[in-house]
């Protein structure tokens, strides 16, 4: 029974199945360079209508918006915004924002946002991190002991609402940064008072010499908010503060941009500050678009949907070579990844013997790790002070010596050591931690040290490292500002630093003294002291820097001023257009 006898209407439906399969096959065989004429919606021109007054700014931005057929091929053809005009700038980035409150923020993307919206008193020349440039402050000076710092503000500086930037605003902002006790509050440690004797003068007093403070002032986290505006919306310098939510949709800074809107997980939109007291940006707005995946960032740059892709993989650089209308640069960064040994952690007791830690250091194949993680697109790093920072020069780079490592382990009487190695399972600065730790595990197994790899989310890693500790781990570090003191304050064997506690060792009196001296010194003497501190941190055998990865800058060729800055990541105010 039930023989299917009818075929009459089958033909009508047949197309559905066939068409679906055919579409897939066509897609799979589709030719590569027939890219942009498939998008026939170029007539819509719904493009840059976000700022109706975009044409009212400077010189060359007002002209022809007609058919600019000479635009580079990657220019977004369906937006109606021809290349060469001051279009809205679109940046693809995997953003790590958790707040937009300038005194609570602490993340890589925060540095970009804060620099664009909240100015600091002092800036850093993006081409030379040793050169400070005036921002809100016209001038600054320190007393001979480096315990008192006086800043003179530029009287022309105004906030985006037109009100002047005064010393009271600086006092309020810095006291709030310290008082809210967020992650960046450590920048204010040692400050005993902030005085504003007049509208243009700020005097900061420290409890001990701190020559780093001038450099610290250039950190984006030291940006200035309008006290009046912030206070009117609940900002205070203690736990009664209730302004965090307000800062998610408003800004109160003096930078070249103001916050337009923020949709968590989607985009951060900045609009040009039309009341900016400095040189205005040619861009009517900048959108930082959440694009998680490096490949997706690359694709969107190739298609002209974004102007700058911030986290392109090293593997993709080759793919972009020769791409018309796209510039790719590989530059040095100040970021680094490292492994660390914590004798103070539960299960890390054997690491208390420095010979065991040195064996670990000698067993690692540094060149191999550099190749495995970033394809050689980076550098080795001697100490926790990254290449390019004061005190990093001339220190010996780590080298592998398996025989010496085995001899040290034998001398220490260690045979068959097993260490728990929890680490954040992330991909940062182009380094995949899973790959890196597999290589480290392989290197250490050669000398009989067995790593039990335990990839975890970053939040869990924080909990573990600050709880019972992790005997062997891997992490990363990016600078908060341009002073080398931050590395000693975090990695040094000095009372109260994070890694001194984890190392299980007592504070190192010599290192502590060197640091105190460095904070009181200046010029060459200071550099020399940080150099000694770098060597001391190498000798501590707690932190083993593995890779100082390079950084890929990939952007539309008509964008100018794309630079990686040690303090601020990418300075949006410095970007221009050809």
């Amino acid at each position: 029974m039930g023989v299917v006898t009818s075929h009459r209407s089958g033909g009508r439906r047949r197309w559905l199945a066939v068409a679906t399969a055919a579409a897939l096959i066509v897609a799979a065989c589709g030719d590569d360079d027939s890219n942009d004429d498939g998008t026939t919606d170029g007539t819509e021109a719904a493009g840059d209508d976000t700022t109706p007054d975009a044409g009212t700014t400077v010189d060359d931005t007002t002209d022809d918006t007609s058919d600019d057929t000479t635009a580079v091929t990657e220019a977004p053809d369906d937006t109606g915004a021809p290349a060469g005009d001051a279009r809205e700038l679109i940046i693809a980035r995997d953003m790590d924002l958790t707040t937009l409150d300038p005194q609570r923020a602490y993340c890589d993307t925060c540095q970009i946002f804060l620099t664009a919206v909240y100015q600091t008193l002092i800036g850093v020349d993006p081409t030379d991190l040793t050169v400070l440039v005036p921002r809100l402050a016209d001038s600054w000076e320190a007393n001979a002991e480096s315990t008192e710092f006086t800043f003179t503000l530029n009287p022309d500086a105004t906030f985006s609402d037109g009100s002047p930037v005064t010393a009271a605003d600086v006092k309020f902002s810095w006291e709030r940064l310290a008082g809210l006790e967020g992650s960046a509050s450590y920048l204010m440690s040692g400050v005993t008072s902030i005085e504003a004797p007049d509208d243009q003068t700020v005097v900061v007093t420290m409890e001990a010499p701190n020559s780093a403070f001038i450099n610290i002032v250039s950190a984006p986290y030291m940006g200035i908010v309008s006290q009046a505006l912030a206070e009117a919306n609940g900002a205070t310098a203690d736990e009664t503060d209730s302004a965090e939510q307000w800062f998610l949709s408003n800004s109160a800074g003096s930078g070249p941009f103001v916050l337009d809107s923020y949709t968590e997980g989607d985009q951060l939109v900045l609009a040009r500050n039309d009341a900016y007291w400095g040189e205005p940006s040619p861009f009517p707005g900048v959108t930082l678009k959440q694009v998680k995946d490096a490949t997706a960032q690359l694709q969107q740059l190739q298609q002209g949907d974004v102007d700058i892709a911030m986290q392109i993989n090293f593997d993709s650089v080759g793919e972009l070579e020769g791409a018309e209308g796209i510039t790719t640069e590989l530059v040095d960064s100040y970021n680094f990844v490292y492994v660390a040994a914590s004798a103070g952690a539960v299960g890390g007791e054997e690491l208390a013997d420095p010979r065991v830690r040195e064996a670990i250091k000698l067993a690692l194949d540094y060149e191999g790790i550099l190749d495995t993680t970033v394809g050689g697109n980076g550098k080795l790093q001697a100490s926790p002070i990254p290449n390019g920072f004061e005190g990093s020069e001339g220190l010996p780079l780590p080298e592998q010596d398996v025989a010496a490592a085995e001899a040290l382990l034998a001398e220490a009487g260690v045979d068959g050591l097993t260490l728990r190695a929890a680490y954040p399972s992330v991909n940062v600065y182009g380094v995949d931690f899973d790959t890196m730790m597999a290589k480290v595990q392989q290197d250490l197994s050669a000398i009989g040290i067995d790593l039990e790899l335990e990839p975890v989310e970053f939040a869990q890693w924080v909990e573990q490292i600050t709880g019972d500790g992790i005997p062997f781990t891997a992490v990363y570090f990016a600078p908060d500002h341009i002073d080398s003191s931050q590395y000693v304050q975090y990695f040094g064997m000095i009372e109260g630093t994070s890694w001194q506690g984890r190392s299980g060792a007592d504070p190192n009196a010599d290192e502590q003294q060197l640091f105190a001296d460095a904070l009181a010194a200046s010029g060459d003497a200071k550099t020399d002291l940080y150099n000694q501190l770098g060597q001391a941190m190498i000798d501590d055998l707690v932190i083993f820097p593995l890779v100082n990865p390079g950084l890929v800058l990939a952007y539309a060729s008509d964008i100018t001023g794309v630079r990686y800055s040690a303090c601020c990541n990418l300075e949006l105010g410095g970007l221009g257009i050809d």
Binding site: G2, N35, I90, Q245, A296
Partner: protein, 337 residues
């Protein structure tokens, strides 16, 4: 019928309480402390900061106490404040739900209509080339991981041939339509901006297709099996013997009976759809509940995790309720069971 619906409605609050309780317990038995992610690594050694954070984020007191506070707040629609976004979870979810709904609705259309069409085609041409081809299409859709399919689809159709726009709900440099429903395609139509509606629809096509294809496989297999059962039934032979046209036999007899179980499966697949949406949203930078859930989990954002669980649970409950009611409306046997 009314009694049946009322009975089903009456047990819904109990089921909801069950979902809330399980979501709460599961989030609290994870061996991880969200305070670390709130205050950051540098401040974990600062007891004053840690205590202040616990107080601010309601992590003081025992789990039982926290549970009752949570349920009490929930009754007033307050799901707490996200540790991560610093916004109310209710408003976070409200903001993202339309994105997921738009995607899920698109996928349901692709999966439902496509699946039914494929199933019918297969059944009508059982064991012929068309049947094999249609089953292959369905099988591929339900077997391929959506994130892989999404990446491949983007690579081929966006990067290589440029037929579809890239990831995201809107093209670059385009503002969203004025907010009415939060569904961009609908909102642009309401606003009378047909150009924008078309652009939004184009953005939706690829993710909806990718997500819908996985559903298509399930639906088509079910429709095919049900159709084959019915096609072989005596009443169909009788209908044909009476001289009815094949089209009428199909529409009025076979399809009507074959589609009954499809209603149920469509209701239940909504759960599958939500799970798959997590991956689809990530690949297509679609800022919906799925990506929110992923980020919340990574940061141990309890209020957000619970909020997503409860929202998912409510959607699942409502959809199965609707499916049950529809099923009961179609099949009298259910009503009296």
């Amino acid at each position: 019928m009314t009694n049946y619906v009322l009975r089903r409605l009456a047990i819904t609050p109990l089921l909801l309480l069950g979902i809330v309780t399980i979501a709460f317990i599961v989030s609290r038995i994870i061996p991880a402390d969200p305070v670390a992610s709130i205050v950051g690594e540098r401040n974990m050694n600062n007891e004053a900061v840690v205590n202040a954070a616990k107080k601010r984020w309601g992590l003081e007191g025992g789990v039982i106490e926290q549970y009752f506070t949570y349920v009490r707040n929930l009754v007033t629609g307050d799901m707490g404040t996200s540790f991560r976004t610093k916004q109310s979870v209710t408003s976070d979810l409200w903001e993202r739900l339309p994105a997921t709904a738009e995607l899920a609705f698109g996928a349901l259309i692709v999966g439902g209509i496509g699946g039914i069409a494929l199933g019918i085609t297969s059944a009508r041409h059982q064991n012929k080339v068309v049947d094999h081809l249609a089953r292959l299409v369905g099988l591929v859709g339900s077997s391929l991981p959506v994130f892989w399919l999404g990446l491949i689809a983007l690579y081929l159709l966006y990067v290589r041939v440029g037929w579809f726009p890239g990831p995201g709900r809107l093209p670059s440099r385009v503002d969203p339509p004025p907010h009415t429903t939060g569904l961009y395609t609908i909102d642009s139509l309401i606003d009378g901006d047909f150009g924008l509606a078309w652009r939004c629809l184009r953005q939706l096509m690829l993710p909806a297709f990718v997500l819908g294809w996985s559903l298509m496989g399930i639906v088509s297999r079910l429709v095919r099996a049900a159709m084959l059962d019915e096609l072989h039934a005596d009443y169909v032979r009788t209908a044909r013997a009476k001289g009815l046209r094949e089209g009428d036999v199909m529409r009025h007899h076979v399809l009507r009976n074959a589609l009954t179980p499809v209603i149920t499966i469509m209701g239940l697949t909504l759960g599958v759809l939500l799970t798959q949406a997590v991956l689809t949203e990530t690949v297509f930078s679609w800022n919906g509940i799925g990506t929110y859930a992923v980020e919340a989990t990574k940061r141990l954002d309890y209020p957000a995790i619970n909020g997503v669980c409860i929202t998912g649970g409510v959607i699942f409950l409502l959809s199965s309720l609707v499916a049950d009611v529809l099923y009961a409306a179609v099949d009298p046997k259910i009503r009296y069971a």
